[in-house]
Symmetry: C2
Subunit: 128 residues, 2 copies
């Protein structure tokens, strides 16, 4: 794979970056770089969030009250980092997004040609 995020269009992910971040923060507070790596590993390298996207999501979500930030020097290293933790509002928002996702997934799926897709994959003649 030459490209980054090959096959994943940012238009689809749009609006779900927040959800992914909140999913991570739901487990424990974290910071930019670590979250970015976790998203990458959870998606098995299929999705790599851009730094700018990530940090702009932070400021947006903090403004909306979904997350709260605090300064801390992580694990032994004297380096100060901006940690984020999820708030109650953020948790509720995350749950709403989960519901929305199930709904949206169901709707979009109706416009995806699943059967012909399967046939195509086995049909060398490309018949329809």
């Amino acid at each position: 794979m030459a490209e980054i995020n090959a096959g994943i269009s940012s238009d689809v992910i749009r609006g779900y970056n927040d959800t992914m971040i909140l999913y991570i923060l739901k487990q424990e507070p974290s910071y930019g770089y670590e979250i970015s790596k976790r998203i990458r590993s959870i998606s098995e390298d299929k999705y790599i969030i851009k730094e700018t996207t990530l940090y702009s999501a932070f400021s947006r979500m903090e403004k909306n009250g979904y997350i709260e930030s605090y300064e801390a020097a992580g694990d032994g290293s004297g380096k100060k980092r901006t940690y984020y933790r999820i708030s109650e509002a953020g948790l509720n928002y995350y749950r709403e997004k989960c519901n929305e996702w199930e709904l949206t997934k169901d709707v979009v799926q109706r416009f995806i040609d699943g059967s012909s897709y399967l046939i195509m994959k086995g049909d060398k003649n490309g018949n329809d």
Copy 2:
């Protein structure tokens, strides 16, 4: 339901309006108003595409060569309408989007808390 498209965020659908339209056109040529109604009925009123979104998708996709337009007076009524038909390129694009969708769906799903979602819904049978 008070709101239009309640629960479906335009950020998620973004980029999949094209796919929905192509799904309709894959079956037979059609025009704006009819496509809009078909999307609404296929989604069981869960998603109603905005007029402006629809027509801007037309011009975008025609520019990209995914669809071709022609003037015709539909069923008996003397009214002229702009019909669109899908092109070979459009068909390929549609198929790519189907693949992309399966991939994206899989990735996003990993960040959706499915089990707590089921518990929340109160599934007493524990079905999956």
